[in-house]
């Protein structure tokens, strides 16, 4: 017995995110940490529950352990429900054998049963790679008001950057007449955010057709949306004008973290009416010791800081000894930085230990120089690591 749901969200969380290098060796990209407290996937999940969409399928296949256990029963996002809630949807085997997800569209196709189970009228397709706060319910109202078959959220981007995005060319009424993937000569500046709403029945039939097309790579952007356009369906562009970032590279991951240190950050994490929920670990409050000096920084619970921290984002349970100096860096959970170490323009992944007097990126000047130290490593005392290094093993 399933309670009918007006709209079900399908969250694509299968990507490896290989341009994040050592940060996604062991975890899927949506599980990457952000902002001192969060993981990327907290944003679409919190957006869903804040938008009153309480049924979410998370499509995973790459290294899902940490992501699965992070999502767990869905309780942190109020998505632990008898009816609906969050469900992990991995690939599966049937009588004729199993297949891994071939593409984003195929992943949804293989899980149409999940959508049918809730008898949903609308399907919201989301990506697990983006940092933004958005009311999907308003987009759904827009979709319904336009009597659309598919609505795509779009963001205005500067014309000179438009050729990096999927661009929607629209009529004055907002309907889309053309979609161009990374056009050399963009005709518009409306970039797709990778947020789609479909009428369920239409989606089901196009996915079915896409599955039978041997030439298709089974991708929403490359295949399904063009097919909708070609089929003469009603596609609309829903304009969004808030903060939205694709966290695809080391540079962009570093920058979205640094964005939070501005005087008035564009991404407001302090809004009680649109909280970003996350899974909590029990921890004591942060302790700043007798020698601590912390300036222009964000710090999470459970930290013990006796050194100097400036222009940095510290996640939970970080320990920084007296005499250590951390600047312009992103330090993830349970990192230990020993006395006299200097860390500059660096992303240090969880549970790594930086030995005493080690020097990382001391010459670095900006985002192009950002180094990355993988998780669970030991950097020896007095080790020297140059700018823009990617460190994946102890050194």
């Amino acid at each position: 017995m399933y309670v009918k749901k007006k709209c079900v969200a399908m969250l694509l969380a299968g990507g490896q995110g290989s341009r994040l290098f050592v940060l996604t060796n062991k975890i899927a990209k949506p599980a990457v940490r952000f902002g001192g407290k969060y993981r990327i996937i907290d944003f679409p999940l919190s957006n869903c529950i804040n938008s009153a969409i309480d049924t979410v399928g998370v499509l995973t296949q790459y290294r899902p352990f940490e992501l699965n256990s992070y999502i767990g029963n869905g309780e942190p996002w109020d998505l632990d429900r008898m009816h609906g809630g969050v469900h992990i949807l991995p690939p599966y085997l049937d009588a004729v054998g199993g297949q891994w997800y071939k593409g984003t569209a195929n992943a949804v196709y293989q899980n149409m049963d999940f959508i049918e189970r809730y008898n949903a009228d609308y399907v919201l397709v989301l990506s697990g790679d983006h940092i933004y706060k958005m009311d999907y319910n308003k987009m759904l109202d827009f979709h319904i008001a336009n009597n659309a078959d598919c609505t795509i959220a779009v963001l205005e981007v500067p014309l000179e950057e438009a050729s990096r995005f999927g661009i929607m060319n629209t009529n004055p009424d907002g309907s889309i007449y053309e979609f161009e993937e990374k056009p050399a000569q963009p005709k518009s500046t409306k970039a797709s955010m990778g947020v789609y709403i479909f009428n369920k029945d239409k989606l089901a039939s196009y996915l079915q057709a896409d599955e039978q097309d041997e030439g298709s790579v089974n991708d929403f952007g490359k295949n399904v949306i063009p097919a909708f356009l070609q089929g003469g369906e009603r596609l609309f562009a829903y304009p969004f004008d808030g903060y939205w970032r694709d966290v695809g590279t080391i540079g962009s991951l570093w920058e979205v973290n640094m964005d939070l240190l501005k005087e008035t950050p564009e991404l407001d994490l302090y809004d009680n009416n649109w909280k970003i929920f996350y899974r909590h670990n029990p921890a004591h409050p942060q302790y700043l010791g007798k020698n601590a000096l912390v300036k222009n920084s964000l710090v999470g619970d459970g930290c013990e800081i006796d050194g100097c921290v400036e222009n940095s984002v510290l996640f939970e349970g970080v320990r920084i000894a007296a005499g250590a100096k951390v600047k312009n860096s992103v330090i993830m959970d349970k990192v230990v930085i020993e006395s006299g170490a200097k860390v500059n323009y660096c992303i240090v992944d969880a549970e790594t230990q930086i030995g005493a007097e080690a020097q990382i990126g001391v010459e670095a000047k900006g985002s192009a120089d950002v180094s990355v130290i993988g998780g669970g490593l030991r950097i020896a005392p007095r080790a020297v690591i140059a700018n823009a290094s990617i460190i994946g093993q102890d050194c």
């Binding site: 902002g35 001192g36 407290k37 309780e75 942190p76 994490l269 302090y270 909280k275 970003i276 929920f277 996350y278 909590h280 670990n281 029990p282 921890a283 004591h284 409050p285 942060q286 302790y287 700043l288 010791g289 007798k290 020698n291 601590a292 000096l293 912390v294 300036k295 222009n296 920084s297 964000l298 710090v299 999470g300 619970d301 459970g302 013990e304 921290v309 984002v313 510290l314």
Partner: protein, 375 residues
Amino acid sequence: MKAMGIVFSNSHEVNLPELTSDRSIAAVPFAGRFRLIDMVLSGMANAEIYKVAVIAERNYHSLVKHIGAGKDWDLVRKNSGLTVFTPFGSVGQTRMSSCRIEALECLLSYLKESAEKLVVISDSDIVGNIRYDAIIDFHVKNKADVTAAYRYLPIGNKQPFARKLPKELSVTNEGRITKICRGMRSDWPKNILMNIWVIDRELLISLIKEGITNGYRSFSADLLAAHTDDLRLMAYRHEGFYGEMTSLAAYLQHNLAFLNQDNLREVFGDEHRPVYTHVKDSPPTVYGQNSRVVNSLIASGCVIKGCVENSVLFRGVEIAEGAVVRNSVLMSDSFIAGGAELDYIVADKGATVREGRKIAGVPELPFLLPRNAKI
């Protein structure tokens, strides 16, 4: 051995009237992100006690809001979990219970319907990471009828003033209790009863009935004291950090005790015995360009642009540039404006100190800023 728990949420509020006029002592905020009851409930959950009755008689709205259905302690269970017992719920009950034994009486049918062999009873005005599992093991190993936890205090050790002294135990070398008496002397007793007991469920039921029949008032000093001969009453000595909410000065002192990292890690940083609390999904704390924070505990969601020293700040506190806070405890959503100076202050939730105001208490008599006070 399977045990259930009973937690008193209003015990000894007489010692801390400043913070319990509109909340139960169990709901008093503590150590930056907790409330007192968090330590008891987490300790029980960590000891695999998954059936817990909280006795709530007065002012329990903030308590009930904090513990909710018990999710944060993983105590939402199908047929047991966390249950709050409030007065007047039962047939014919028309007044609040006047003592611990009467409060226990309203649990008689709940106790009878339960299947657990043992009951762990605890007050909630206790600061420490209590090993309820170790007390249960001690109880079983010693074939005790009742086990009481106590702490040993060398004579002469100076303790904060208390309106009501704790009770004292006389204990043999083998750990048997020979005497339980009310703390009447001007110096503090040596073996302080912690108001944590482990007791056989069936025995508890018969003791409650006996206590009611005889009109006893104190569970320990009257009822148990009457059985030092015919029951095997054992005493378990607690060795870790321990504090009692005996006064506002003790409240401040116990908060500031966690500026010592050993205490902090023992009580709130042990990952095998974590202290859970109701989560608020606060964002991280922001430190400004000119902030200066030393030897302080800071919860998340704060915005700190001023100077903080030897203090404990709860969630969402804002310290403006130029403000100075020393030796103080500021509860959630306090705001300290620029130029203000605070020393030995306990600020209840939502207090505001305006620009340039200078207030100071002393360690043995902190200055209290009431809830939502604006000065």
